[in-house]
């Protein structure tokens, strides 16, 4: 058994950056398919820098949804990062306003996972910084590649892109439905419920609203019941 050291922390951080890069290219392509230009796609990756929220924003816009519905979806997914921040404070202890403002920008799924996995605070900080830097660079570079590449597509290649976008969303959802994910059975019911409500509402509400409505409906239907929890 070998304890994680600086070099293994760095290797994991760089490896994760490379893996995330593929998702960046898919995001760039999805943004183009949704009607965003290359600058808008790149601005999202540089400033929003949280993949699921970025995918949600362009997903709702691509479905013809309003800016409000799109931003609402992005913020709903962005609440994850608030919880991550709370977990990271004792590990990273960002001192001073500037350091806190800078740290906040890189609080995402991957940097949280890397930091929490590190065996001590020094390595946690290294994992956060190295992972954040590697992911930020790759994510922005591949977003540009994906957006520029998708913008150049025509004909059957464009039909391919139309099929790739829902597949990318399914790939983001899939790990939550796998056995082994906490409460995978409930996750599956929530997912099916969200999809059914969204499709049922599509003919009747403005585009994009059905996505938000599906989330609200599923959230209300699934309020925790003390009895259900005891079973």
């Amino acid at each position: 058994m070998s304890a994680p050291t600086r070099s293994t922390v760095l290797r994991d951080a760089i490896g994760l950056g490379l893996a995330v890069g593929l998702y960046g290219a898919a995001f760039g392509a999805a943004a183009d398919a949704a009607g965003l230009d290359v600058w808008q796609a790149m601005t999202l990756s540089a400033l929003m820098f949280t993949g699921a929220s970025q995918f949600a924003l362009v997903g709702v816009l691509g479905a013809g949804g309003s800016a409000l519905a799109a931003v609402g979806s992005a913020l709903l997914l962005g609440t994850r990062n608030t919880v991550y921040g709370v977990r990271l404070v004792p590990l990273l202890r960002p001192r001073g306003v500037l350091r806190r403002l800078g740290t906040a920008h890189w609080v995402i799924d991957e940097t949280t996972a890397l930091s929490i996995a590190a065996p001590d605070r020094g390595l946690a900080r290294l994992a956060f910084l190295a992972g954040g830097a590697s992911i930020f660079l790759m994510w922005n570079a591949t977003t540009a590649i994906g957006a520029l590449g998708a913008a150049a597509l025509t004909g059957p290649a464009l039909a391919a892109l139309d099929a790739v976008v829902p597949a990318a969303f399914l790939a983001l959802l899939w790990p939550r439905l796998r056995a082994g994910f906490p409460e995978a059975g409930v996750q599956l019911r929530v997912a099916v419920g969200g999809a059914v409500v969204a499709l049922a509402l599509t003919p009747f509400v403005p585009a994009g609203v059905q996505v938000i409505a599906a989330v609200v409906a599923v959230a209300l239907a699934g309020r925790p019941k003390p009895r259900a929890a005891a079973r």
Binding site: A52, F55, N81, P156, P166, A167, F169, L199, A214, A219
Partner: protein, 105 residues
């Protein structure tokens, strides 16, 4: 949507998501560690992503439609079930979608 509307969504969403990150580093942990917050964090992603999959794959504006995207989604689900890597899932879905487009003419 106009370019201005898109930019408004891009910038408002980016600022909002940044403030959510900053809040986690700034507010007392007890404010965030509430059962209802935990539920949002645990289950909203599944509902939202599934709703987006459905809308992306089966709607066009306010109409429900079935087209080449269904072929792509079915192939993607199969690839994911076989634990294929992300890039393989996307390439297979894209190939299926393009093929369905060509066959359907």
């Amino acid at each position: 949507m106009s370019g201005t509307g898109l930019w408004a969504a891009v910038l408002a969403g980016s600022i909002g998501c940044y403030l959510l990150k900053l809040a986690g580093l700034s507010v007392p942990a007890a404010w965030v560690e509430q059962p209802w917050v935990a539920r949002i964090v645990d289950f909203v992603p599944a509902a939202l992503l599934a709703a987006l999959v459905a809308v992306q794959a089966f709607t066009s504006g306010q109409e429900l439609v079935v087209d080449g995207r269904l072929a792509g989604l079915a192939v993607a689900a199969l690839a994911l079930a076989l634990r294929a890597p992300f890039i393989v899932v996307l390439l297979a879905a894209g190939a299926a979608g393009a093929l369905a487009h060509v066959v359907a003419g």
